[in-house]
């Protein structure tokens, strides 16, 4: 077992445990958001191990930084330190969801174990894989339309968020 593999198992276990902590923690929303940070940063470390360096940097900057800070800001703005709601109805539907989800997961895992393509070891990466130069060239030549679409989407999101957050539309 190489160092990379050991690091992958450490960060993968950390990501799963903190994701479970986020979903199962019904007492404290701030703690849920902080668990989400741990998941994001572990995933960033796994991207580094997969040699996707630029994506790892963006993962930590945008997810670990901006998005979670936005969540924490709203949680603290609304003063939602606890979220103990009265017990809901629909217990049956929820447990059915849990059983179905876990069953599908088990099926996926069994199928993954049988896939010969995934069991094969990928070779060494070519020169410049995952670096900013390669990604930048690809973004501004092959995928330039995608960049334009992303800019329009972000503009629409800014306008939508402003209108939704305004107290009164006049």
């Amino acid at each position: 077992m190489t160092t990379e593999t050991i690091l992958f198992y450490i960060f993968g276990g950390l990501a799963v445990v903190s994701a479970l902590g986020m979903v199962l923690n019904t007492r404290n929303t701030v703690a849920s958001a902080l668990s989400l940070v741990v998941t994001m940063v572990s995933l960033g470390a796994i991207y580094l191990l997969l040699e996707a360096y630029l994506v790892a940097a963006f993962q930590i900057m945008v997810y670990g930084g901006a998005i979670v800070v936005l969540f924490l800001f709203v949680v603290m703005l609304l003063n939602l330190s606890t979220d103990e709601f009265p017990p809901g109805r629909q217990r049956l539907i929820k447990s059915a969801f849990v059983i179905a989800g876990v069953a599908i997961l088990v099926q996926i895992l069994i199928a993954l174990g049988r896939d010969p393509l995934l069991a094969a070891q990928p070779g060494a990466v070519p020169e410049g894989y995952g670096g900013y130069r390669q990604v930048g060239i690809s973004l501004y030549t092959d995928y330039v339309l995608l960049v334009e679409m992303a800019s329009l989407l972000l503009l629409a999101a800014i306008v939508g968020a402003l209108i939704l957050a305004k107290r009164k539309i006049d």
């Binding site: 990379e4 993968g12 999101a157």
Partner: protein
């Protein structure tokens, strides 16, 4: 070299945790966070598969990573709009419990 089937398995596990969070929780903030978790799981699958097929005719192929960057942009705008909706809902209902917002429910 990482075991690739374990990378994809980790992606599937994280996605399932996200689905269960959306299905079982009633706090709208935690539901939004679970959606983020699902998007992250898909990103991990993209990066993993890109690592498997990392070159085409000797040149680096990074299409999966481009898709991840697009998903990050979509997730950022989704969070901005989602938290705007959450603020409007809190202002009207004084709660973030999704079971209290059932006007459109059948």
């Amino acid at each position: 070299m990482l075991p690739m089937n374990h990378v994809i398995a980790l992606s599937a596990i994280l996605f399932t945790i996200g689905v269960l969070g959306v299905a079982t929780r009633r706090n709208l903030i935690v539901i939004l966070m679970s959606i983020e978790l699902m998007l992250n799981a898909v990103n991990l699958a993209f990066v993993g598969f890109n690592r498997i097929w990392s070159q085409v005719d000797g040149a680096a192929a990074i299409d999966g990573q481009i898709f991840v960057l697009m998903v990050i942009a979509v997730a950022a705008s989704e969070v901005a709009v989602g938290l705007g909706i959450l603020l409007a809902m809190f202002r009207n209902r004084d709660s973030v419990n999704v079971e209290e917002v059932n006007l459109l429910k059948w």
